[in-house]
């Protein structure tokens, strides 16, 4: 649906659309690895490893 819409609105021939889509996916992955995941990791319950007394 939305990915189909995205595909229809990408310019150029099929191979160029495929390259664009791949680049966008890689961009999202890089953004997640460098910014999003490090930001949300401390909020995860399994990452709460330090007790107050040990500080």
């Amino acid at each position: 649906m939305m990915y189909g819409w995205l595909w229809r609105h990408l310019p150029g021939p099929t191979w160029f659309r495929a390259v664009l889509a791949l680049a966008a996916a890689v961009g999202v992955a890089v953004l997640c690895f460098t910014t999003v995941y490090p930001a949300i990791a401390p909020l995860m319950p399994f990452n709460d490893t330090t007790v107050g007394e040990e500080q």
Binding site: M2, Y3, F46, T49, T50, V51, E54, Q55
Partner: protein, 270 residues
């Protein structure tokens, strides 16, 4: 009253309307499905990042830290020469004890011969995750003894993720050497015992863990990390006692240069 008329109109008008409604419904369900698939892929990406990429980044950052220390290189072992030149000779007298450094500064490294293949890891001041354990590796509990001192040199590190310096802690057996290196000296500790405790059991890093109220008389080391793996429910604790020390300007301890990491078993001191 107009049932006949409705039915006849229904046959001609309602069919396309029902078709449009179904298309809208299918569209909503389709977008919803794609959003859920996207969420699943993003969550899977988080798992990959947490379990793999933090190790890649942690190992790289910790290796750079060790590289930057720029300490005096140990004398290369002289294979053909006399044995005294090949390995560190245990030094007599009081071991040098470095002053406790500022938060986040790297003052020592740790090498565990049992963990064959593991790199030399930096030891830095502090045990909070954001500034020490995640980016710098092993952290020293502030206020506990420094290497070589009477008391308990207590350190913490991740067992999984962020370079996982203590990943193989459960492989340690009594008598295994734990080598700590500073700018001035080599400290060779030997494992005396291990225990698994709850996170609130902070006596394990007391100056004398066997009797937290007693005055410390021994030079101890304590490694703390999470247990079981991938959980923070308990803590895996390894205690050790200083065997000997040697000046950093001399050759490396035999524990590091010996090809065979197996060591003679000792009595558990605690």
């Amino acid at each position: 009253m107009t049932a006949v008329a409705q039915r006849s109109r229904g046959a001609t008008v309602a069919a396309p309307r029902r078709g449009r409604g179904r298309r809208v419904l299918l569209g909503v369900v389709g977008v919803l499905g794609e959003l859920m698939i996207t969420a699943g892929v993003l969550l899977g990406g988080f798992v990959v990042w947490q379990l793999w990429w933090t190790d890649v980044e942690g190992d790289r950052a910790q290796a750079e830290l060790v590289e930057e220390l720029d300490w005096v290189e140990p004398i290369a072992p002289v294979a053909a020469g006399p044995a005294e030149l090949a390995v560190a000779v245990p030094a007599g007298g009081e071991p040098p004890v470095p002053a406790e450094p500022g938060h986040g500064s790297t003052f020592a490294t740790m090498i565990v011969p049992r963990w064959d293949g593991e790199p030399e890891r930096p030891v830095s001041q502090g045990v909070d995750r954001a500034t020490v354990l995640d980016p710098l590796g092993i952290g020293h509990y502030p206020g506990t003894a420094m290497p070589g001192a009477v008391g308990n040199f207590a350190v913490a590190a991740h067992r999984t993720t962020y370079g996982k310096p203590f990943h193989r802690i459960a492989e340690l057996v009594v008598g295994d050497p734990v080598v700590v290196r500073t700018a001035d000296a080599w400290y060779v500790y030997r494992v005396t015992d291990h225990e698994i405790v709850t996170p609130s059991n902070v006596d394990v890093i007391a100056p004398e863990p066997a009797d937290p109220t007693a005055d410390p008389t021994r030079r101890l080391i304590t490694l703390t990390t999470c247990h079981p793996m991938f959980s923070a429910r308990e803590r895996y604790i390894v205690h050790g006692e200083l065997d000997y020390w040697a000046p950093a300007s001399g050759p490396a301890p035999a524990e590091l240069t010996q090809a065979d990491p197996t060591v003679p078993a000792q009595d558990g001191g605690a």
